[in-house]
Amino acid sequence: MGFSAVFANIAILINGFVVTIQLSIIAIVLGTLLGSLLGILRALDFRILSGTIRAYVAVFRGTPLLMQLFFAFFGLPMLGFDVDRAAAAVVALTSYSGAYISEIVYGGIIAVAKDQGDAAKAVGLSFWQMMRFVVLPQAMVVTLAPLVSWYIGVVKDTTVASVIGYTDLLRNATAVVAVTNSPFETYLVTAGFFFLLTVPMGRVVAILEARTARGWQ
C-alpha cells in the first residue's frame, strides 16, 4: 500500500514513461512538419488551397482529440489501413498538432510579413527572396515560444493514447494501480513523471518569451 508499493513497481512506470517520451517526440516532429507546411501554404494565399487548409484546421480544432483518436484507431482499419495502437496514436496526434501548429506558423508569418513586406519591396527583393531571407527566419523566431509551449501540450496530450490501450505511462500506471490498490499515490507519481518533462520545457518557454520581448539581436 502507499508509496512503497508504487516504487516497488517503478520499472513498469519507467517503461511507460519511455513510451510516452517516444510518442511525444514523434508527434512533435511530424506535427511540426505538417503544421509548418500547412502554415506556409496558407500564407501563400491561393484561395482554394487556403480555404481547404482553413477547413482542415477548423475540423481538427473543433473536435476533441480523443474522438480523432477513435476515428484513427477504429475507422482506419475499416478503410484497409493496417494501424496498430501506436500508429493510430501517431496519426491522431500528428493531425491534431498539425492543425494548431499551422495556426502558429501562419500567424508568425503574417505578423512578420506585415512589417517587413513593404520594406523588402522597397529595397527591391523579389517575393521569394523576401520570404527566404526576411520573413521566414524572423517568423521562425517569433513562433518559437508558442511552438514550444504547444509542445508541452503535446506531451500531456499523449495520455489519450492510454484510452485505446496503448502502453504509455498512464496505461501502465492504471495497471500498477490494480496491483498496489493505491490510486492516489500511483497517479501522483505519474504526474511527477510528467513534471520531469513539462517543467524544463516550461523554463525554455519562459526564456524564449523573455528573449522575444527583448528582441533578438
Binding site: M1, G51, A55, A58, F73, M78, A175
Partner: protein, 271 residues
Amino acid sequence: MKPFRLGAVLLAATLVSVACSTTPTESTNKSALDQIIERGTIRVGVIVNWVPLGFNDPSGELVGYEVDQANALAKALGVKLEMVPTTAADRIPNLLTNKIDVMIGLFTPTLERSKSVAFTQPFIIDALVVGVPADSSIQSISDLAGKTVAVTKGTTEADQILQIQPAAKPIQFDDTDTSVLAVKQGQADAVFESQLFMMAKATTDTGLNLRFLSGVAFKENEAWGLRRGDPEWKAYLNEFLYLQLFDGTNDQLFDKWFKGKVPFPLPYSWY
C-alpha cells in the same frame, strides 16, 4: 467565407470518396489454415491486461493462460507465433479486418456476434457474477434496482446488465481493472464481471474483499473466435481444443494460472 466553404466541401468530398472506395481487406478463397502454414506465422489475438489470461509480467513479457495456449497452437502448426494485443472492444474488428487469424481467450459466442464472426466449440464455461463490497446491503438482483453497476465497455456484461435488472444504473469503464477499482472504492455499488476473472483477481489482489451474489451466476460459453466462411480453419481449431481437453492439458493450464479446477464442467460430452 467563400474559399473556406469551398475548401470545406473539397475536404469532405475527398474523405467521403476515400471511405466509399476502399474496402476492408477481403479474405482470399484459401482457408486461413493454408495461409498460415504458407506464411509460416500465425497471428493470434490475445487479451491484454487481464490477469491471468494475458498480462505483462514484471519483466514486461506477455504471459498467461492464453499465451500458453497460443504457443501450443503455433507449435502444433509448426509456425511462428505473433501475438496481437487485443482488448474486448477490438476483438471483432481485428478479425474482420484480417489483423488476426484467431481470437483466443474467453470469447463468448452470442447470436449477435455470430452474424459477424464464427466461433469454435466452447471449451470452457464461465459465469457472469455480480460482486459487491463485503459489507454491502445488496443481497440479490432485485436489490440492484437504482444502484450503480460497473461494467466494461464492449463486453457481454455491458449488454446484459440492463436485461437482468432494468432498473440498474450501469457505468461503463474502458477496462476491467478500472471497473473493479470503482467498486472497491465505492464509486459503483456493484461490478458485473466474469467469474473466472474475479477468481484470478482474488489470487493476486489481496485487498479485493468482494462478496458475490449467489444465484446470480449466468453461465456463458467461452470459445475462440475466427472469421466466417472458413470451415477448414474452424475444424482445425476444434480438433486442437478437443485434444487439449481430452488429454488434460487444458486442466493443467487452468490450474497453473487460475490455481484451481475448472469451475463448471462442459454440459455435454464433447470428448
